[in-house]
Symmetry: C2
Subunit: 273 residues, 2 copies
């Protein structure tokens, strides 16, 4: 694990790192904020399409609230980098910058696009073994909100809380998700539901903590890609505790995320402290 | 004045604008945050080298604190754009992205690089005439900290408070400043002191409000470019009220700025409310 940069922030440290991932067989980068206090827990932040390890840590304004709650955050890159797979760099919503937090099974991608394993094993082990923090939770935005919901529902023992901003909640039936699942998992749709939060809830998966969601109503992707109401219906049927906040006037940007960051950090603090 | 983008943020609006500047004879861009309340005053933020109207508004985490104090902010670009003057795009510390908030007098630059007039007249008039806000103050970072100190000391009636992060306080004797002054004002150094905060204080200029400065001690530019102690000496001799905070471990980045943003907004609120 190599430290690339370190910036004192709210008495703690905002830092950038790289390490070799067994899952992706590439060098992966991530950012952290570590408060200047005994760390009570760690939130994993999963970013959205086109993002890197830098967007969240520079734009979300999370450091102040994390410092106040004695929590650290770790924000990984959104895909493997430095490869040249077929079609990997052709569009913003597939391949580089668009890993979708799953284990790919299609030729070429199966060798490297193991973002599920990367988050759940490699990055999780960095938190427990390198940073010596035991309580871990997960949250994210858009594609990363999808990742947080899916990985949280699949691994409730590892992730003590789950929340999401503007998540893609039903990727099996929305354009971004269908494109990604076709490319990473192939066209046999029976493989898709394992990476779809709505389908996971409908199949009986639940998380013991309340799932918190904020969704802007002026979000340009709300109606077509995010399908927030599908999550509400599935959670209600499954008996999953949840809170979905539809936010009048807010869009898909980090300006929206920063507005409700304090609420999400407080939510995770309840389960991590 | 043309609105380019609008994002709801902390119940208010983060917005991007363009307008024609009489001072620079170019289209200029700026960003704003306007709280969802009766606006009590407006802070002008001047950014540092290489920045645009975007850096502050995305990275400083100011919106929360501005909303709490019923204040707006306006953050202009750091130079005219769309020109092709001799040497304008050759280096990061002169020409585009490096206007130094002065009125240039050298050939070519004299026609457009009138950033002093742009801030003090054009942008000031946008605040009072378009946004209908009367109480105005000024702050900034690095080159923009220099701009805030200089324009504040030169126009104490227009700017009710002045503060700076990591300002270039004595540009007449530091490398960035000397390069800029040579290029924009020529090599007759008698013209330089009108745009040098330390020299202005030594010549008797004062501001009625306390000048607040935060400076990181791990700032790579501290010793060579910023010369913070020159400001302290000049302010002491001049009888200028000031508070210089030397911050152990902090660097020149927006991580540092975000850490002390709440303190600066509160400082301005005292004079603007």
């Amino acid at each position: 694990m190599k430290q690339l940069k370190s910036h004192k922030t709210f008495e703690g440290k905002t830092e950038f790192w790289s390490h070799e991932s067994a899952a992706t067989k590439t060098e992966m980068k991530f950012s952290t904020f570590i408060p200047n206090s005994e760390v009570k827990g760690c939130l994993i932040w999963l970013s959205g399409l086109t993002c890197t390890e830098e967007n969240f840590i520079t734009k979300a304004g999370a450091q102040k609230f994390l410092a106040e709650k004695n929590l650290m955050v770790i924000a990984p890159d959104t895909s493997p980098r430095g490869l040249n797979l077929h079609g990997e760099h052709d569009s913003y919503d597939f391949g580089s910058g668009a890993g979708f937090y799953l284990n790919a099974t299609t030729p070429g991608y199966a060798d490297h696009y193991k973002m599920d394993d990367y988050i759940v094993n490699d990055l999780y082990n960095v938190i427990t073994n390198e940073f010596k923090v035991k309580n871990v939770s997960i949250f994210g935005h858009s594609m990363g909100g999808h990742g947080a919901l899916v990985l949280g529902l699949r691994n409730p023992d590892k992730f003590k809380a789950v929340s999401a901003f503007s998540p893609i909640v039903h990727p099996s039936v929305s354009p971004w998700g269908m494109k990604a699942f076709n490319g990473y998992l192939g066209n046999d749709k029976s493989a898709w539901s394992a990476y779809d939060a709505t389908e996971l809830l409908m199949s009986g998966k639940k998380h013991p903590a309340k799932i918190l969601v904020h969704q802007g109503l002026q979000d340009e992707f709300f109606a077509k890609e995010l399908l927030t109401e599908h999550l509400r219906e599935a959670a209600q049927k499954a008996g999953q505790e949840f809170e979905i906040n539809l936010c009048e006037g807010y869009d898909h940007s980090y300006y929206f995320i920063s507005t409700f960051m304090e609420v999400h950090v407080a939510h995770h603090a309840k389960y991590l402290n």
